[in-house]
């Protein structure tokens, strides 16, 4: 049996929206019998009940089970999605996050009722700070983008307290889209830095920006390894330059999976960074969240961290409010359930296990690169860490086949495509991050699929214009969706 193509046919069941299963008067879930007299509001009562579906338990179960069967997921196969770290999500973590002792705690119970939750936050913040070699950490931000905003707002508060507001944040052009968007939210203007073909920042590039913008620069925001999977080897000198003018080095920690135990941002001169627990620490992506975007920083930024802070005094966990805090970036303490999973993951691996996570992630990415580079051009020749980037330039030049067709063709081989057209600095980029949880056998099968596609293009056997064809639905008309938006069932005209 050929293993490079995993896509087989089987029975997948069609299903309308749940509303179309409805029958008037049918009751789904039963609440307990009311133990007090029934009352209804006399003023402001809702005149017309919300039209929710009226379905049975089995109908609900079938509906969502059928829907689930139309998704691709890590549990089904390899997910080489660059910059997203789609690694396996250990199931013990789900069990632990569902413990009643964690689930049934309201965030405003008196402190003596929630010592377990407070201790967990305290331990996780401490572990996250030591992994990156920084002094303090907050786990409050709900996702990476909020973490970026939090980090930048800490910098803003610091500058406002010491010498006044600064205007600009320097961002390499290979950065995630959230970086410039977070800058705007934090009140900064984003200045893009044009990175050369080696794929990393040179000292001259930063010097040039400093001579132009000087002390109006609040910070430089970089991902390291960057979005090309390349280590910013001049990072320490760049940090020195920035610190020389009182600016800060802010790191997007989206790619921490490459450097656990291999390099500490604190040793590179980073002042503040955010993590993505749903990437590096294996909390599930869940079809787009929930995430958690902790922020770690040096002591000079710590007085501005979001409130409340969890502290320990003689074995008792308490909360404190910092007078200079930037405020709050999320309700309560943050996405606590995500924190449980992340701490479990960290404790399951230990410090040497976490280093092993990164070494294996780097080996896997380089192995794939080695297997693919004969048939695909690389985005850069600089050594890659946990992800590698290919370009479609060879396929376009020789046969006019683009990245989007290669991506859709991969679906017909049973894979999720890599991240495509990102980073923007590589034409027709395919950013591949296999992660450490894939075995070599799986990587070989994925590589075979990539190579089969490349060969079919080379021999002009296929152009993959029609791909995907094996998927549950055919090629989706995304242009039509935007032209005539149908965004709820009530927008339907047919």
């Amino acid at each position: 049996m050929s293993t490079s193509n995993k896509a087989a046919s089987g029975i997948a069941l069609r299903e309308d929206s749940i509303f179309e299963r409805s029958a008037s008067g049918r009751v789904g879930f039963e609440l307990p019998q009311l133990s007090v007299p029934l009352k209804r509001p006399t003023t402001l009562g809702r005149k017309k009940a919300a039209e929710l579906p009226e379905v049975s338990e089995l109908q609900v179960v079938r509906h969502f089970t059928r829907l689930s069967s139309w998704n691709y997921a890590i549990d089904l196969g390899t997910f080489p999605l660059g910059s997203c770290t789609m690694k396996y999500n250990p199931r013990i973590n789900e069990e632990l996050a569902a413990l009643p002792g964690f689930c049934d705690i309201h965030p405003e119970v008196p402190l003596e009722f929630c010592q377990g939750s407070l201790k967990l936050i305290y331990l996780l913040e401490r572990a996250l700070a030591s992994i990156v070699g920084l002094d303090a950490c907050t786990v409050q931000p709900a996702a990476g983008a909020v973490g970026e905003f939090t980090g930048l707002t800490l910098i803003r508060a610091f500058h406002e307290k010491h010498g006044g507001h600064r205007k600009y944040v320097l961002i390499p052009d290979s950065a995630h889209g959230t970086n410039p968007a977070s800058c705007i939210l934090a009140g900064y203007e984003a200045i893009p830095l044009k990175v050369g073909k080696d794929g990393f920042m040179t000292v001259e590039l930063v010097e040039e920006a400093i001579s132009k913008y000087g002390r109006d620069i609040a910070a430089l925001m970089t991902t390291n390894p960057n979005t090309l999977g390349v280590f910013e080897q001049n990072i320490s000198q760049i940090a020195e330059l920035l610190h020389g003018i009182g600016a800060q080095l802010c790191m997007d920690g989206a790619n921490m999976n490459a450097i656990l135990g291999i390099a500490k941002p604190g040793d590179m001169g980073v002042d503040v960074m955010q993590y993505n627990l749903h990437k590096t620490f294996s909390t599930p992506h869940g079809g787009g969240g929930p995430g958690c975007g902790p922020v770690a920083c040096r002591s000079h930024l710590a007085p501005f961290l979001p409130n409340p802070r969890v502290v320990e005094r003689n074995g008792v966990y308490q909360i404190e409010h910092l007078p200079d805090s930037i405020g709050k970036v999320k309700g309560a303490f943050g996405n606590f359930g995500v924190m449980v999973r992340a701490l479990a993951y960290i404790m399951n691996h230990g410090s040497s296990g976490l280093r092993r996570v990164s070494t294996n992630a780097v080996i896997n990415a380089n192995y794939l690169r080695a297997r693919l580079q004969k048939h695909y051009r690389l985005g850069t020749n600089t050594p890659h860490f946990h992800e590698c980037v290919l370009s479609d330039s060879k396929q376009i030049e020789e046969n006019g086949v683009k990245t989007i067709q290669i991506a859709k063709a991969l679906m017909d081989f049973g894979y999720h495509p890599p991240t495509v057209y990102f980073p923007l600095t590589v034409p027709g980029a395919m950013l591949i991050e296999p992660t450490e949880t894939e075995s070599l056998q799986e990587l070989d099968e994925l590589a075979d699929a990539f190579l089969t596609i490349a060969k079919k293009i080379e021999t002009k056997e296929e152009t993959f214009e029609q791909s995907p064809i094996k998927t549950f639905v055919g090629k989706v008309d995304e242009v039509g969706a935007a032209r005539k938006p149908v965004l709820s069932l009530d927008d339907r005209t047919l």
Partner: protein
């Protein structure tokens, strides 16, 4: 390590294929000084003060069971807490279905051909949010109520050509107000605080004065407000100049099962929290924010949206759409920096609301309403009355409890948390004020117990 499959043999094979001798060759671009100091220590206190090799699954379970046991929860304790986070009865199928690997371990549905399950579920979520709030347009979810409301303010600022000042009702949850202020801290924004009157409701005279002096682009009002009662949205809407958007924060979406939705009063944006519909309290998260608005504001909507379309075979299908608003396309010109949202929790909400259904949703509202009515009556018999008597309530309210501090401690000693004391949040006028909340898990016996302990 079960999650790390690479064997030493395979590692050797990998190095050969790559063309390196050892791992160090792969990371040679890291300056040696940084490489040499990269090790870290994991200190988890007495139990594991230098955890190097990691815990087995059994040890892990044991550790976390003990950790969770440091929390005091049901059934030994009884609480009457709300204020934005609510205990609720979660049907078994919600957990079971949301834990399916195809939902749990899938990615943001950027590739529609292999993400139809998630996409259709989000489309149904959007439909549910529109119908419950009576607004025509919903996005795919936000982090939570406070951040969703903050995004609503940012959207109003983008929509306004002339003003970026905003008004916040002071009877909006203190947490919502703090989060909004933090999200606005990057830009110069004049924030006016609208006071509440002796009924705990927005002071309409003060509102009129502030709309004249500040010419705000939006007013944020809470429905129900933090004190548990409902504002007269129709009158408020009439008072607002046409260029001032009415943002209604709904910290408890279940209230709209029973009360007239903000859409029927002309709200421009309805933002809030849907945690109480099928998601555990979990010490405050992950929960799920929703965001609904008018169609004319579509291009300024933050976050992801799913739309219906056709595939190449002519069949109905779904896709993320109108992404040119978003950060991955527009970068610094995006409507928000939000990327990851609360996908899985939005799915939970969709499953829960589908199962509860039209009648179940109404019954949920009636249960909360009736339990609170009973509690109100019983507490008043014991001399504990509502601080604001005129208003209409759903399931929580502020009570004036004589000798609150003493009685609160007495309740705690019997493992009852009677509510949230408001002194620290609203100042000395709230010395004896307690926000008491019911939820569908409560029964008459438990309410009687609260009355007995708090009332004597």
């Amino acid at each position: 390590m079960p999650s790390l499959p690479l064997t030493p043999e395979e590692e050797k094979k990998a190095f050969q294929t790559i063309g390196v001798q050892s791992f160090d060759d792969l990371i040679a671009t890291i300056p040696p000084k940084i490489r040499e100091s990269a090790r870290f220590q994991l200190d988890f206190g007495n139990e594991y003060n230098n955890l190097t090799s990691g815990l087995s699954e059994h040890e892990l379970r044991d550790y976390f069971l003990k950790l969770s046991a440091l929390n005091k929860t049901n059934p030994e304790t009884l609480h009457f807490l709300g204020g934005g986070v609510y205990d609720n009865i979660i049907p078994a199928i919600v957990n079971q279905l949301a834990l399916r690997g195809e939902f749990l371990t899938c990615y943001t549905p950027y590739q529609p051909e292999i993400s139809q399950g998630t996409l259709q579920a989000i489309f149904e979520f959007q439909t549910l949010m529109c119908r419950i709030t009576q607004m025509p347009l919903s996005n795919a979810s936000m982090y939570d109520g406070p951040t969703s409301t903050a995004e609503a303010v940012l959207m109003a600022q983008r929509l306004s050509k002339s003003s970026n000042s905003v008004l916040l009702a002071t009877n909006l949850s203190p947490e919502y107000r703090t989060v909004i202020r933090t999200f606005l801290s990057g830009h110069e924004t004049q924030i006016g605080e609208v006071l509440f009157n002796s009924d705990g409701l927005i002071d309409l005279d003060h509102l009129s004065k502030l709309t004249q002096s500040l010419e705000p682009c939006a007013l944020v009002v809470s429905y129900p407000n933090y004190f548990g009662s409902f504002e007269d949205l129709a009158t408020i809407k009439k008072l607002l100049p046409s260029n001032c958007l009415l943002i209604v924060a709904v910290p408890d979406l279940s209230a709209l099962s029973l009360f007239e939705p903000p859409g029927s009063f002309g709200a421009d944006i309805v933002a809030g929290e849907a945690q109480q519909l099928g998601t555990p309290m979990l010490f405050g998260g992950p929960h799920v924010g929703f965001f609904t608005t008018k169609k004319e504001y579509l291009r300024q909507l933050p976050g992801r949206i799913v739309g219906e379309t056709l595939d190449s075979r002519g069949d109905r299908c779904y896709t993320l759409t109108l992404s040119t608003r978003e950060q991955h396309i527009r970068r610094d010109k995006a409507t928000s920096n939000i990327c990851t949202n609360q996908g899985l929790i939005a799915l939970r909400t969709t499953i829960y609301l589908s199962f509860l259904g039209k009648l179940g949703f109404q019954k949920l509202g009636e249960t909360n309403y009736s339990l609170f009515e009973y509690l109100k009556e019983q507490l008043s018999i014991r001399g504990i009355s509502l601080k604001y008597n005129q208003a209409s309530y759903y399931r929580e309210g502020v009570f004036e409890v004589p000798h609150l501090e003493k009685r609160f401690q007495k309740c705690l000693s019997q493992n009852i948390v009677p509510g949230i004391p408001l002194r620290d949040k609203f100042g000395p006028a709230f010395e004896n004020s307690l926000l008491v909340t019911v939820n569908p898990k409560h029964n008459r016996q438990q309410l009687d117990l609260l009355c007995e302990v708090l009332g004597s």
